[in-house]
Structure formats: C-alpha cells, structure tokens
C-alpha cells in the first residue's frame, strides 16, 4: 500500500509506537516564541531539567509583542533571551533582527523537505509548504520537544486537495485557501494533513504556498503540505548549495518524500480555481466565506496588511501596486507590518514602504501584534478590520471587534474605498 507525504516523513522519524495509532517522532526543528515558550522554560527550571536536546535544532524569536508593551511582556522577552544565551541557541532573533516566526524561519532556510517541525503556535502548519511535516503544539509538547527532541502524533490521515486550472488576475492564494476552508469547514480536516497539489499550486511561488498551508489549521488540519519541486529547491538553494552538486540532485533527493501513486487518502477534493473570485470572511468563523462581490460596500474602520499569512514581500508588492499614487479613505486607518526585517528592507529598496506611507498607512516593525489583538492595531468595541490575517474569531483583534479576512489586494483596494471592494486587478465577473 502506498504512502502519503506525511506517512513517509512519519516512517522516517518514528522513535517509538507507544500504542496503536500513536507515534513518537524525532524532531528536526523546534521553533519557539515568547508567548508559549517561557512557561515551558520556567517549568523545566522548576523540575530541575533546564536542558535543551540540541541548540542547533532549536530556533527562537520574540515576535508576538515586540518591542515589549508592558512589564509582563518584557518579562517574557527576558526569559527567552536568558534561556537562549545559557543554552547557546545561536539562532535567536531579538529586537532589531526579529520577525514573525512563520516568515523569518523559512526565510533563513531552516525548513527543508522531509523535516519534522513543531512550535507552540497553531500556524506552524505554514512550513508544510516546503514538503515538511510541521505542526502546532501546546506548551507541554513544546517543553518535551526542547528537552528530548521528540513529539507524539497520532497517525495522520490525509486529505488531498487538487487545485486545477489557473488563477485569474486579482485572485490569489489567500482567496484559494478561504474557498478551500469554506468547502472543508472549520473542522473538516481535524487530525488530518492536507496535501495541496495540482497545476494551480505548481504555478505558485513559495510565498503563496506558505499562505495556502498557513491556514490549514483553520479547517482543523494538523499540517498543510505542498510537494517539493524546483520552486522549493530554488528558494532553498542559497542554504543547500554546499549539500548538493546541482539543483537537480537536490530535487532528486527531496522527491523521495513525494506521495506514492497508490497512496491512500481519507478524501480527495478537486477544485477548479479558474473561475474563483476574490473571497472574504463575514462572520466569526474562518469557514464563513463569501465573494468580495457579495460583501461589496461593507464599511470597515481599519485595514491591516501583515502577519504570517500575508506579510511577505509578494503580498506587500501586490498591495503597493494598487496603492501607488492613491490615498486611503478618510473613513479608515491603515497599518502595514512587513513580516521580517529582510522584507522590510527589500520593501524599502523597492519603494514599497514609501508608497504605503504616501497612501496614509502606518508602517510598523515586524510583529504578530495586531493579528491576535495583543498590540500594534487592537480594535475597539464595535469596530471592524479588513485584514490579511488568518483568524476572524469574535474578539480576535480586540474585544467586540469584527475581522474580515481577505487578500492583500482586496485589503489595499478596501483601504482606498473605505468599504470592502474588489481590487482593480480583478476584472472578472
């Protein structure tokens, strides 16, 4: 019987099978941020096990509230900083070098096809875009990951999502994933891996693939994965060029993770994206999705472009293309958070930051802050936000606030109009 991509990774990493259907996996990466890690660190200290399994495989960042906004968040940063130092964790990204975890870790080349990755963050599924098994976990799993380099996972069933056709102008990976979540529902992929494949995925760059995989969790998915191909290899090449004689050789090695032709799937979903329109959420659940056309004219108070879903350079370029020479509506305020310092610098060099500022955007440092209502863009009661983030739960960006999830193109167009509207890039019907 053939295997899925996740089954192949599981088989290559199984340390123990403590009970039927449960595997203990060895970990290639344990990623850490300052919200879920300090309690794990403090617990390890308290139980006399302040150790790390491998300082090279642990990568850490301060990203959720940065710079610290109060004494408690300062304490969280301090805990991380001191821990990274005493254990020799070299890849620790502190203020000045820090960015949103699921943007900065891939940017540094830390994720490779076939890797197992955990982090105390539900959007860890993003890293599956590289053909890795990457799953969000709680603090206890993280604590054991830090200490022993292992994690338990139940055997993964896989849903294969085949995306056929070609996206029209003005329709992006964000619109695709919102449409997929609408189809699968918020728990349609619970305990399952989602394999994204098909011509529409093949045509996407890594930024778009990360957007796609990032929101697998919003359908309940353990991980979203894309198959490693030459796009993956090209992205990783600066980091792997000493490991392989050629890109073709790298691809040949990574291809061992591709699912077998006779792999068994829980479900296969096929979607033709050729007729897809820009999408937006309307309620408090990420599967409450309509076309932007249906939501046209809905007023918003704030625009937010950023996050691990859509704060990458490609996203900023698309938004800036729409904003160039325009001003945001006087009825809204707008914030853009480039997801990493590199993205920020590249956007500066390309003149993108100037376009945002000329349009009336506030440009913040790289941080997750606004997405989960912690800092840098919290909503007031009764306000709404056109947001390129990933979660529209009641109160997510601030108590009593409403979040409309959408692509950077739609968010930019909405900033100009002051109401939800399609971007001029989309000329379809």
């Amino acid at each position: 019987m053939g295997k899925t991509l996740a089954q192949k990774i599981f088989d290559a990493h199984t340390v123990d099978t403590p009970a039927p259907g449960v595997r203990v996996l060895s970990l290639d990466r344990v990623f850490c941020h300052e919200i879920t890690t300090p309690i794990a660190i403090n617990d390890l200290v308290a139980i006399g096990k302040d150790r790390v399994f491998d300082p090279e495989k642990i990568k850490a960042v301060i990203d959720h509230v940065t710079p610290a906004k109060d004494s408690k968040t300062a304490e969280q940063g301090k805990t991380m900083r001191e821990w990274a130092k005493r254990h020799g964790i070299k890849d620790f990204f502190d203020i000045g070098a820090n960015g949103v975890c699921h943007a900065i870790f891939p940017e540094k080349g830390f994720v490779r096809p076939g890797f197992t990755v955990i982090m105390g963050d539900s959007h860890t599924c993003t890293h599956g875009a590289f053909g890795a098994f990457a799953a969000g976990v709680g603090t206890t799993d993280l604590e054991v990951g830090i200490l022993k380099g292992v994690c338990t996972m139940r055997e993964p069933a896989t849903i294969k999502v085949v995306l056929n056709g070609k996206l029209r102008a003005g329709v992006f990976a964000k619109d695709v994933i919102l449409a997929v979540i609408k189809l699968l529902t918020v728990n349609g992929a619970t305990d399952k891996v989602i394999e994204f494949t098909g011509p529409a995925v093949d045509a996407m760059g890594m930024d778009s693939r990360m957007t796609l995989c990032n929101m697998a969790i919003e359908a309940g998915g353990t991980c979203g994965v894309c198959y490693p191909d030459m796009v993956t290899v090209d992205f990783l090449w600066p980091f792997i060029q000493n490991d392989f004689p050629s890109r073709e050789a790298a691809l040949a090695e990574y291809s061992k993770w591709l699912p077998d032709a006779d792999a068994v799937y829980d479900k296969v979903v096929t979607m033709d994206v050729s007729e897809l329109e820009p999408m937006v959420t309307f309620g408090y659940k990420p599967d409450q999705v309509k076309t932007v056309r249906e939501m046209e004219g809905t007023p918003v108070n704030q625009i937010y472009i950023g996050s691990c879903t859509n704060g990458r350079l490609e996203d900023l370029r698309i938004a800036a293309g729409i904003l160039k020479g325009k001003k945001i509506s006087e009825n809204v305020r707008a914030i853009v958070s480039p997801a990493t310092p590199k993205i920020y610098r590249d956007a500066l060099k390309e003149g993108i930051i100037e376009i945002f500022m000329d349009a009336g955007f506030c440009v913040t440092n790289p941080t997750c802050g606004a997405c989960l209502g912690m800092s840098n863009g919290v909503l007031a009661n009764g306000e709404s936000c056109a947001s390129t983030t990933n979660r529209n739960f009641n109160g997510r960006m601030g108590k009593g606030g409403m979040v409309h999830l959408m692509s950077p193109a739609t968010a930019a167009a909405t900033a100009i109009a002051g109401v939800i509207t399609n971007s001029p890039l989309f000329t379809g019907k």
């Binding site: 449960v22 919200i35 304490e75 969000g136 976990v137 206890t140 799993d141 728990n187 209502g373 108590k399």
Partner: protein, 174 residues
C-alpha cells in the same frame, strides 16, 4: 491522577475556540494560576455568565470541535485552574485535545446522539458526573435520573492521564 468527577457545566454550542476560552491578551501571564479569573471570558453564548456559571463546576459537556484555533495550552490550564479537569464533546480540535492529555486532563468524545441526550436529560439541572476509569463509564445523575454512559479512551491517552502528563512520561522513556 486528577479528579474527574463533579458538577457539569453545559455549553450548548459548537466550535468554541481558544480565544473564547482564554483571550490572547492574558497570554502574557507568567503563571498558570494568574489565568483563573479569565476563564471563558469571551464566550459567545446567550445566557452564559462566566462570573456566575463556572464556580463549583468540574466537568464541561459541549458540542463539536471544542478548542479550535490557537495552540495555547493556556486553554486547558485555565479550565484546570477553575477545577475543570474533563471536557466531554462530540469531538475536539487536535491541539486542544492533545494539550488536555499532556496535562493529565481528559478530553473525551461521545457520539452526537449521546451528547444530545445529555443535554436533553441533564442541561439546566443540578447534574453530576462520576468517572469510572477502570470500566470506562460515566455516571450522570440529577435529582430525577441517573444513567451510565460507556466511553472510549486511547491506550496512550490513558497512560498520560495515569502518569499525570507527558513531561515525566517522556523524560523517563526517551
């Protein structure tokens, strides 16, 4: 092993997410105990008052996909701080479910029809649940009725519950 018996809090809604169980603004707390006052603070459920309805309860019975959203273990912690060591639902989000067992707490799935019956017979009454881990049954009672419901629990999940969590289990073994 923790206590899995006591009065039931019925939450009649699906997709109760982690942001409702414990809003992100409290994730800056550095101890689990500090979370206690904020349990289910943002829950959207007509008639529910977190200030009155949680005290004295030890069990949650709810619908589908409980604990969806964030990976925050603060969600199980805030329940435990408030004396709630077991949640019974149609099903759970993966990370929340794993977090519960990792803490030595229980997240048990029952068939939708059984959950429905629990709501019909016991919601709105002073109902108590008793867990028999040996025989894998719950006994649910109120002044009028008492019924026994079998449940299943994975072998490994049961080991975690008995061990009191994943940290000590893993450190002794791997």
């Amino acid at each position: 092993m923790k206590n899995f018996n006591g009065k039931i809090l019925f939450l009649d809604r699906s997709d109760i997410n982690t942001d409702e169980i414990i809003p992100a603004k409290y994730l800056t707390e550095l101890t689990k105990a500090a979370l206690k006052p904020y349990c289910l603070e943002d829950l959207s459920l007509p008639g529910f008052d977190p200030k009155k309805d949680i005290a004295g309860k030890s069990v949650i019975v709810t619908r589908a996909n409980f604990g969806c959203g964030s990976s925050r273990e603060h969600a199980p912690w805030v329940l435990e701080c408030n004396g709630i060591n077991i949640v019974i639902a149609e099903n759970f989000a993966r990370i929340f479910r794993q977090n519960m067992f990792n803490c030595g707490l229980m997240a048990i799935s029952l068939e939708p029809a059984v959950i429905d019956e629990l709501f019909k017979l016991f919601a709105g009454t002073d109902a108590t649940l008793t867990t028999d881990l040996e025989n894998k049954t719950f006994t649910v009672s109120n002044a009028k009725t008492s019924k026994v419901y079998p449940f299943t629990i994975g072998e490994f999940d049961l080991e975690l519950v008995k061990a009191g969590g994943w940290v000590s289990y893993a450190d002794s073994k791997y």
